[in-house]
Symmetry: C2
Subunit: 324 residues, 2 copies
DNA sequence: CTGAAAGCGCTAACAG
DNA sequence: CTGTTAGCGCTTTCAG
């Protein structure tokens, strides 16, 4: 392996000069630069990223913790985060917590070991205190971690409002919400709360049915959908995450219900799957790309010790479809 | 920041002894061990991963290059790779090449900089020679890179056979294959080739229609599907990747065709999306989890300089559905 | 503008 | 069983 020292010797200069050339720092005469560059090329020199990180106390790497990469929402989010980080010169190391025993503390440990310059946390955390006293910055994505960790999220109150308005516009009288496990409090709870408040105030009956904790299999979505139609056969509006609502579409058809004539389905998230299949889902879309960019922007600002004046929240949009 | 030296001083021992304790190496007396552990705890010592990597010339990090994380197949694959790597004590740094200018060379550069111990490459590469003369191991996932880089992939010949048998079983007379861009030669081409050979030999007419290069938007899938039905109105069997076939299901319905009565649809891959919607897609499923585990196993064996006697290929399975 | 030298924090021989 | 010492490869003052 060829080191900076070898390049220096070959070029007849000191290692520090080679460093200056590599990093385009300071003043180096044109001639010296050329000599150094020639030496680097001749020796096929490739600098060590690790040594550099040790010296700089910075790895240009961000840890991203998400429940799963296979889930359409998180898959899309991970992709956008990676792109935003890449554009800022950072690498992304990914940790998926679902189906792992206790990956999360293990991963946070890596942050402490200074393997990463910061963390974006988008998984559920049941581990109180895990994020206290960290020396390096953490930004939460749509999650409450502790009082000190800032959160980037979609304006779910606005989302709830859009949802309620949609059901009201179609004169629904009985809306059922499929909500996540109540073990977990998240900013996304707001859309269910706000939608229910508005609908109730307009005399619409609202029920909710809860999904099991940490169970992302499609079969479980189907099961909830079946239970929903069994428990609330007169429901004429359903609100839930994309996958939940997608399952409802299937079960509605199974039961001979017409969508949207008999029952309106409104998906929350608006990922790719809402566009697929024979009947695209009407949805409230979270602007995933913008959320990812904002998250990265906020985290990098924290790393640089800067202030960033953008708000921490982005509004969702209404995405037309064939189910409302 | 507290360093190993500080712990050593606190415990009244040498840094090397602290290192031995941390890594559970060599022989350390019970008493010394306790003193060291107490000192570590007292000082809230967290070792530096970067310094360790520099010393060991090993980062316990693997680079994974994929086209996209938002695509159902790659999302699932990425998740399984991450889990397999995690279980082996490795972190995954992810690079998605789609929609980035030339991320791939940039990423390979990181491998050269020894930021990673190896690479799993699952993206298309048009960059000839990029993978030559690498000092650290690379395993390709379902891609041809160069003559030296081994490939883990699904047994696509078997997949093609399964597909052909399915169409024959349903007495199809005219099958259309939706194939990827011919710019790219991949192991997956085999299933189209083999299916076509078998079908043709049985007197079935086979046509193919090509998807544009590197264009993963759902709209483009819809466009191809429309073109397919326009060009081959008498097709009674369609074979293609999940998303392609999903789009065909939509368009078939749009044109008033009954599935599977008028036309059989067979999806290749069998990701989550085949299970969704009102009509689950019949599919040839690639065993993504097993493929991911095999890929990781092979790469880690290369890193350790070991031999691994497992074959580099895994057979696909038939997944029943409602479209054949 | 360039070079010498002192780190960055950990590991691994090798003595003792 | 433990301490000394010499790296790992790069960056960064600080003289000159």
């Amino acid at each position: 392996m060829v080191r900076i020292k070898d390049v220096a010797r070959e070029a007849g200069v000191a290692p520090s000069t080679v460093s200056l050339v590599m990093n385009k720092k300071g003043y180096v005469s044109e001639e010296t630069r050329r000599k150094v560059e020639a030496a680097m090329k001749k020796l096929h020199y490739v600098p060590s990223g690790v040594a550099r990180s040790l010296s700089l106390n910075r790895t240009n790497t961000i840890g991203v913790i998400m429940p799963s990469a296979a889930h359409p929402f998180f898959g899309e989010l991970i992709g956008e985060l990676e792109t935003a980080l890449y554009n800022a010169g950072y690498k992304m190391v990914l940790c998926c917590t679902h189906a792992k025993d206790n990956a999360e503390p293990h991963f946070v440990e890596m942050l402490k070991r200074r393997n990463m310059d910061g963390i974006i946390m988008g998984a559920h955390s049941l581990d109180e205190g895990l994020y206290d006293n960290l020396e390096r910055p953490v930004v939460a994505f749509d999650r409450y971690l502790n009082d000190c960790i800032p959160i980037v999220h979609c304006d779910h109150c606005q989302g709830g409002k859009l949802a309620a308005e949609t059901f009201l516009r179609h004169s629904c009288r009985h809306v059922v919400e499929i909500v996540g496990s109540s073990i977990m409090k998240t900013p996304a709870d707001d859309y269910h709360r706000v939608a229910a408040e508005i609908l109730t105030s307009q005399g619409v009956k609202v029920d909710r049915i809860e999904r099991p904790w940490n169970e992302p299999s499609y079969a479980s979505f189907m099961q909830i959908a079946r239970q929903l139609f069994a428990d609330y056969p007169d429901a004429d509006g359903i609100l839930g995450a994309d996958l939940s609502v997608s399952a409802c579409l299937y079960v509605a058809q199974e039961r001979g219900l017409r969508v949207p004539e008999d029952v309106k389905l409104l998906a929350y998230d608006g990922t790719l799957i809402t566009q697929m299949g024979t009947q695209p889902l009407t949805a409230i879309r979270q602007p995933i790309k913008e959320l990812a960019e904002l998250t990265v922007c906020k985290l990098l600002a924290m790393i640089k010790g800067e202030q960033d004046s953008q708000p921490w929240m982005i509004a969702p949009t209404f995405q037309p479809g064939a189910t409302c």
